[in-house]
Assembly symmetry: C2
Homo-oligomer: 333 residues x 2
Amino acid sequence: MNLKELARKLNISTSTVSKALRDSHEISEATKKRVRAKAKELNYQVNPFASGLRKQKSKTIAVIIPEVVNEFFGPAINGIESVAQAKGYHVLIYLTHEDMKKEISITGLLQNGRVDGILISVSAQTRNISHLEEVKQKEIPLVFFDRVIDSLPVPKVITDDYESGFKATNHLIQGGCRRIAFLALPRTLSISSKRMNGYLDALKKNNLPVDSNLIITLNHDSSANKETIRKLLKRKNRPDGIFASIELFAINTYEVCEELKLNIPIDVKVICFSNLKTASLLNPSMTTISQPAYEMGKEAASILFKMIEKKGHNFLLERTVINSTLVPRNSTK
Amino acid sequence: MNLKELARKLNISTSTVSKALRDSHEISEATKKRVRAKAKELNYQVNPFASGLRKQKSKTIAVIIPEVVNEFFGPAINGIESVAQAKGYHVLIYLTHEDMKKEISITGLLQNGRVDGILISVSAQTRNISHLEEVKQKEIPLVFFDRVIDSLPVPKVITDDYESGFKATNHLIQGGCRRIAFLALPRTLSISSKRMNGYLDALKKNNLPVDSNLIITLNHDSSANKETIRKLLKRKNRPDGIFASIELFAINTYEVCEELKLNIPIDVKVICFSNLKTASLLNPSMTTISQPAYEMGKEAASILFKMIEKKGHNFLLERTVINSTLVPRNSTK
């Protein structure tokens, strides 16, 4: 059953049927009712590809993220999905696994009308941004969330990474720490450099020296990370506080401390950016900077739909900041 | 730049250009090379909707799951995505939030060619299956994973829920438990009834009575769950072992035990189906039945693509079982 056949059965033109199905104001309510009833009776469904060609709308958005097994990106997807579902939109999920090449190939696939808009949190490897500039040049609505490229003029939804980095470091200093290690993601990543700047400024404000040997870049390979943390904690002059920029690095730290029989918080205090559901059940319970992941996803999607629907003002320079919360627990007592 | 214009520039027919771009064996390598070079030069990209109309292929699969913030479904998505990416396919993710009405509305949206196949793990509420029978009738390739409908003849990828339920219960009995509570999902759900049958048979085999007051159905509302678990653990005759059918129920149990100052494992032992990354770091570390989530997702996607490509035999009755592993830790010591 296609549109033509449906029109023939109704004995009206295909364009009238099409407009009626799209709830056009040009068509009377009576006709709309008749068309809908017939369409239902004959089990007619709009072909999304034909419909996409006509309307140049895919009713689909893409979400590009580094990973899905993650207490930040999981809730962020929920926030995005809540908005998309209300708009009747479909959500394509793409995972870069922190690989810039994959990110480039994914954005390349999305430039021919497959999606009406893109939400992205860039990979830890992303340095070159020409693939994102291309998306922007093609006027595909694009919104960054969490991990952003500051130099690209598109809307951004972030948390207060600098302030939270400052607060986390200050919290350790107030707990008595004097040698605080910072476990970083690559510094090219917006969230990492901002969190680190917060850390550095908190040290300065408290007149503590910056020791570059205590700033350590890790990645997503737990066994390599644990080897690095092991070396760090075996040093004569080992740190008395650890500030992990992401959850994985804190988990790796807990594992190494157990192995080396170091007591958290007596031997070393630990704080980290994390939305871990089990943070309060860990041994010891973990002090976290909890991020508003769901809200960030929801806000980013709301802005994207305003762009898709061309509603409101120029969003391009908009920057929305939703604050994180420090939740003190036993790992910094 | 469309296909017609590209063909004109190359001075060959549109059908030759189209075949060349699809890497057809009918076209010589020399021509393919020439076409590809010109397409690149002129920045020609295939319109996915026009292309979808011609080929009746969307190059997209749908994954319908209850939730994404979950240590099972997260890795399962990774497994699915690894296969889809290798095939050049896009992945639409739909969340039912355990709501059958949402599941019905989602499957309804997918019946008009938007996707080439569907992977589904049904919601805890799903009783009526006519929406899934409809998908099958329309000959859209459909594969169940983890949470399946046994009566529907489509391929299924599951873990050994019955055997694992038996092993988990036996493990508690060998640890000295005599009054074991089972925290269940609704029994209509395949995984829940199989896990419970394993629990019941392990009790029988060990000549322990079945006490229906110890079989408790919970849902996804933590505060309601905790209220129920609180009542259970305040009974005079409180259980000495708890077998949680999903991770959330074990987390709720840990929280209530902390609140009531009950010692795990001395006062009550706890085991649960879970892929929690932090299971070994909990206080105490938690004994789990660890499910092969990534492998199950990968296998389900592989079977779906065989169906899409119409390769091999009749898959409809295929049932793939990938075993889970019991990992003993301190919560059952």
